[in-house]
Amino acid sequence: MDFRETEDHSALRKAVGDIADQFGSDYYVAHAESRTPTTDLWKRLGELGYLGINLPEEYGGGGAGMTELTIVCEETAAHGNPLLLLLVSAAISGEVITEFGSDAQRSRWLPSLADGSSKVVFAITEPDAGSNSHRISTTAVKDGDGYLISGQKYYISGVDEADAILVVTKTGTDSAGRAKMSLFVVDADAPGLTRQHLPVSVTLPEKQFTLYFDNVRVGNDRLIGTEGDGFKQIFQGLNPERITGAAICVGIGRFALERAAAYANNRTVWGASIGTHQGVSHALAKSKIEIELAALMTMKAAWLHDQGEPAGDASNMAKYAAAEAAIGAIDAAIQVHGGNGLSTEMGLLPYWGLARLLRIAPVSREMILNHVAQHSLGLPRSY
């Protein structure tokens, strides 16, 4: 067992943190408030090879793994600039295309994901299929030398910033009546695909959309992997999505506690700094412990994934723990700031919104508890 961080990882943390610092948390907050993408930061990180860090070198990536992508997610967030689309573009789409894409598909999509010049976002959620993805009804039907896709997705993040969308479709039904799934990369501007902005009240730079697929034609070259194997294939991407989601939460937690500790040391109400009051300091100490624990589990999950070991349990637990810890930390930070905690100038609320979102997405707290109860504890399936 060796918990020391390697020099490479320390250098990576510092470089990414410095880049995020150059933009600063004000940059993130202003973009979140105005709902505009943080494109300049994304481009900067892409040019320097940090967005494609987990992608193979032969396709322009960094040749590293989930551990390194986790560091990128954590450090950008810890320096006030969480990047939600890393979850879908770098983690899910990047991993799935690398693992199951043909050589031609990899050559087509990975280099521009790696250098940050394009994004491939991810669409699985439907109005009648969120936690229960077996119920998806967006179908792809074989037609000549391609497929026709019809149906509806919603809450899909970043479609306006993306060149393409990795879409989970139904191409049949198994004997148990569940969807047989297939994955397609669909151009964001494909004829027959329309999108409608779906407003959410958490302040995020990234927008969500409802997507309507009306006989959208895709060639066979857009099918990723094997028809009907989609469900198994997305699992390759779902663990990374949970791990990177956890990493963003750990980063938000660190950011919140740093802000809170600085404020608690400086703000005086009764003659001594408010950090003197245990009612204040214990809340922060508790959050600190929870964030550190979540960070450990997140790193373990990333390590397991990189080793090719089963990472489902650890990824789920990390995502659960980190989202809970982040919500606790940012809430404590807001409380420490008193009324200022809610001010636009202090800019804490956008981080609370993102942490709160990550308790629901990409997989909800309850579904993780279901998984742990059933798979780690051997309790009966509850649904």
């Binding site: 020099e7 510092k14 860090i53």
Partner: protein
């Protein structure tokens, strides 16, 4: 065009610093990082070598405990190699000792130009670079805000209180650069990964033939005492009731600024 850049590895300014209560020296126990003010020198050197089309940048540093974290940052930015002088006898060195060590280390490599920062962020002595130049018998130009190589000379815009001097100086030479001379690049991931395979030559005082000539034991300077900076007084708040400008002018007159 080969350039040696003096780089200091210092305690992270973002972390709390402390002074040793008996020696009054800065405690350098934790991990050290590349001094931000040296990142400008590294960047300047990289750009000059790039323009020249040939040559390489060598980092030269003196640091305790074989510390290379800061050097790795410079190597990740693009420097080709590093020379690190590390020796327990160097603890408590004064500026002249440091200059002797760095000069001897620089002399082990080929160079046309030596670049240093005007002063370090943790020491602020600001004397080491010119001492190095003197020891190496080089002309030195300090406070450069613009540096260009033109054949066998270096052309420097040298910051002064009144504006700047245009200086032309034969090579080899030593130039100290101010913050802002160029915008330091951020290391890329490829840069970080390649940094670890770049050579770092570690030298001791004995390797440099400086035992007894440099180090804490022969320091000619001693920090006798340290006083806390006086807490700042609250400023004067001028409320503008229409006479604000007048009040400001009077205040500045009182301080003899105008």
């Amino acid at each position: 065009m080969n350039i040696a850049v003096c780089v200091k590895q210092i305690p992270d300014p973002a972390a709390p610093w402390s002074l040793d209560p008996s020696t009054h020296n800065l405690v350098r126990e934790g991990k050290l990082i590349l001094d931000d003010s040296d990142a400008y020198g590294v960047e300047m050197a990289l750009q000059l070598v790039d323009k020249a089309g040939a040559g390489e940048v060598t980092l030269v540093s003196m640091a305790p405990r074989n510390e290379t974290s800061g050097l790795r940052t410079g190597l990740a930015m693009g420097a080709a190699k590093a020379i690190l002088v590390t020796d327990d006898q160097l603890a408590g060195s004064d500026a002249l000792s440091t200059a002797k060590v760095l000069a001897a280390a620089i002399a082990t490599t080929e160079f046309d130009l030596v670049i240093a920062a005007t002063e370090s962020t943790d020491g602020y002595t600001g004397t080491t670079p010119v001492q190095i130049a003197e020891l190496l018998g080089l002309p030195s130009v300090s406070f450069a805000k613009k540096v260009e190589i033109d054949g066998s000379v270096v052309k420097v815009d040298r910051q002064t209180e009144a504006g700047y001097d245009e200086v032309i100086c034969p090579l080899p030479a030593l130039v100290t650069v101010t913050a802002g001379v160029v915008e330091p690049r951020y290391p890329s991931f490829k840069g970080i990964m390649s940094a670890k395979s770049k050579p770092v030559v570690t030298l001791s005082l004995a390797d440099l033939g400086l035992v007894g000539a440099a180090g804490g034991a022969v320091a000619g300077q001693e920090i006798v005492s340290v006083q806390k900076a006086e807490a700042r007084q609250a400023g004067v708040i001028v409320e503008d009731d229409g006479t604000g400008a007048q009040q400001l002018v009077e205040y500045l007159e009182q301080l003899k600024f105008v």
